[in-house]
C-alpha cells in the first residue's frame, strides 16, 4: 500500500501513452491525452497526503490541526484548469481538421511527410 498510489500514477501515464500511440481516431487520441495528464494529479495528490491529517480547511477545526499539504492541491487545481482549456483547443483543431479533410484517423492525417 505504501507506494501503491504512486504506481497508479505511473500506470495511468503508460496506459494513456499506449492509447495515444495506438489510436485510430483523433478524438480518442485527445481523450487518451487527458488520461496521461491525470497521472500528474495522482502523483501530486499522493505526495501531499498525510495519514490521519485533515483537509487544509480550518473552518470547524483549530488552525493548529495537522493538515495535508495545501501546496500540491493548489498545483493540481492549476493543472486541472490548464488541462481542460488545452483540451478545448485540441478538440477545436480536431473537428476543423475533420471538416477540411473528412479524415479523423491520425495515421491518415499525414500531409507533412518528408
Amino acid at each position: 500500500m505504501s507506494h501503491l498510489a504512486y504506481f497508479v500514477a505511473a500506470w495511468l501515464f503508460l496506459v494513456g501513452l499506449y492509447g495515444v500511440v495506438t489510436s485510430r481516431n483523433m478524438v480518442h487520441l485527445i481523450i487518451c491525452l487527458s488520461v496521461v495528464q491525470s497521472s500528474t494529479y495522482v502523483v501530486l495528490l499522493t505526495i501531499g497526503y498525510r495519514t490521519g491529517a485533515a483537509a487544509p480547511v480550518f473552518v470547524d477545526i483549530p488552525p493548529s490541526t495537522p493538515a495535508v499539504d495545501p501546496v500540491v492541491q493548489a498545483l493540481m487545481l492549476t493543472d486541472i484548469v490548464v488541462e481542460v482549456t488545452v483540451m478545448a483547443l485540441l478538440l477545436a483543431l480536431a473537428i476543423l481538421a475533420h471538416a477540411r479533410t473528412g479524415e479523423l484517423d491520425p495515421n491518415r492525417l499525414g500531409l507533412m511527410r518528408g
Binding site: 495515444v20 488545452v86 483547443l89 476543423l96 477540411r100 492525417l109
Partner: protein, 613 residues
Amino acid sequence: MAPPITVALPLATAAAVAACHRWIPRWPALLLSAGASLAVAALGVSLALDASHSGLLLYWFGEWTPRTGHAIGIDFAIDPTGAMLLVISATLVTFAIVFAFRYFDTAGQFFQVLMLIFLAALAGFSLTGDLFNLFVFFELMSAAAFALCGYKSEEPAPLQGALNFAVTNTIGAVLVLTGIALLYGRTGALNFAQIGRTLGGRSDVLVLAAFAFIVCGFLVKAAVVPFHFWLADAHAVAPTPVCVIFSGIMVEMGLYAVVRIYWTVFSGALGPFHNELRNLLMAFGAATALVGAVMCYAQRHLKRLLAFSTISHVGILLLGIGLLSPEALGGVGVKLLGHAMTKGGLFLAAGILLHRTGSVDEIDLHGRGRHLGWLAFLFFFGAAGLAGCPPFATFWGGVMLNQAAGRLGYHWITWVALGGEIVTAAAIFRFTSRVFLGWGTAHGVLIAGAARIPEKPDTQGGHEHTPFAMYASATVLALLGAAAGMVPHLTRVAHSAALRMENRAAYAARVLDGVASAAPAARDTSATFPDLAQGCGAVAAALLLAWLTVCSPSARRALGSFHPLRRAVQYLRDVHSGIIPDYVAWLVFGVAVFGGVACSWVLWHATIPAQLR
C-alpha cells in the same frame, strides 16, 4: 517596479484589446499592442543594464520574502541572461506585430492579443526563479502558440501542423510536471535555489529521473532530435510572423530552461556525473545538428527548409551547452542572439515572398523572383549570417564556442557545428539562386521527394506591391543580427553573464539569504586569423555547395547515383511521417534513452567501487 510590469503590461493590453476588438478600428489596436511590446523591450534593456551592474535582481511577488532561508512565495530572479532573452523576445514580437499589420485580412486583432500573451509568457519564463511558475509560463506560451500555429484554419495543413505541435508539446509539459512533482516530493520546494540547496550533493535514481523528465520535456520545446518532429510541421504552416517568434526565441527558450534548471538546481547533485552528462548532451546535440542539416538541404518548401535549419542550429547550441563551461555558454548566448535576429529576418523575407508570389516552393517558383532584387539580397545576407560570417553575432558566438571546445579537448564539435552551418546556409543559397536568379533547372535530385504542402498565401492572392512596413521590418531585423556582432565587449558581457548563471552557490545565497556576490572576472574573446578565415570560408563553402547542386550537371549526377546518401535521405523522410502516433513513439524513445543513460550512472557508481571505474 519594472520586473512585474514586463508581464502585467502585455497581459493587461491583450485583455483590453480583446475586450474592445469589436468596437475599435485596427490602427489604435496596432499602436497599443506594438507600443506595449516596445515598452517591454525598453524595460528589458534597463533590467539587463541593471543586472549586469549589480548582479541578480530579486523581486518577490506579494511581499512574500523568504523566511529563515525558506522561500514562501514566487520570485523573479533577473540575471543578465534572462533580461537579454526578454529583450530579444520583445524585439521580435514588436517586429512581428508591425510586419503583420498589413499581412492578415481577417481577425488581425486576435493575432495581436495572442502575440501579447505570448510575449508575457516569454517574459515570465525568462525572469522567473520558481520551477512551477516556469511551468505555468511554459503552458501559457504553448496555449498561445497552438492557436497561432493553426491561424489559417480554413486550410487542412495548418490544422494538422498545429495538432502535431499541440499533442507532442502537451506530452512534453506532462513530463516536466512529473519531474517537478518528483522534486517536490523529495525537497518540498519549488524555488530553484531552494531545491538546489536541499538536494545538496546527493543524487539517486529519483534525482536523475526528475532531471531526465524535466530536461526531456523542455527539449521537446527545443526541438532536439528525436523530439523535433513537430517543429518542421508547425513552421511550415504557421503564418510567417509567428514563425519569427517560434524559431527566433520560443525554441531557444526550451534550451534556456535546461541551462537554468541544470545550473541552479542539479549542478550540485549531478556533480559526480559531470563528464557523463557532457557526453550525453553533446550526443543529442550532434545528432540534432546533423539530422537538421541533412533534412534542411532536402526540402523544397522554404519555411520547412528554414525550420530544419533552426533544428540544426539548436543542435549546435546544445553542443555548446553540453560543454558545461562558462565560456562555451557565453558563446551560446551570443550565437542565440545572432540567430534570433538573422532567422527572424529570413522568415520575414519568406513572408514577403509569399505575399508577392503566393508560394514558397523552390520548384514552383523557379526563376519567378527575378524582379525581387532586394528580397534576394535579404536572403543572401541572412544565409551569410547563419554561416557565421564576420561581423555577425553568430561569428563571435562561434569563436567563443570553438575556443572553449579546444581548451576542453573537444575539437570535433567545431567540425560538426561548421558542417551544420555550411549546409543550412547552402540550402538558402540554393533556394535564392534558383528562385531569384533562375539558375539551373526546375528539377532537383534531392528535393524532388520533399513535402509539397498545399498552401494558400497568408494574404489573398499575389500582390503587386509590398507594403513598406514589411520590407522595413525584414531589413532592420536582418541588419540587427549583424549590428549585434559589432557591439563593443559583447564577448566579455556574455562571458560574465554565463559565469553568473553557472554559479549555483552565489545564486542561492542571493535568493534565499540576500547575500550579494562580487562581479565575476570576465574577459574579452578576440578573433584570430584562423577564426576569420573559418567564418569567411564557411560562406564560400556554402556558396560552392549551392552552386554545385544547382549548376553542375555532373555534380548532380554524382549526387544522384550516390546511393548511401539517397538511402539515408529517404529513410529520414520516411521517419518524418507527419503522423502523431509515430511522433509520440519517438518522443518516448528519446526519454527512454536520455533517462536510461542518466539512471545507469547511478547504478554504475553504486555497484562498481571507485578504484575500478
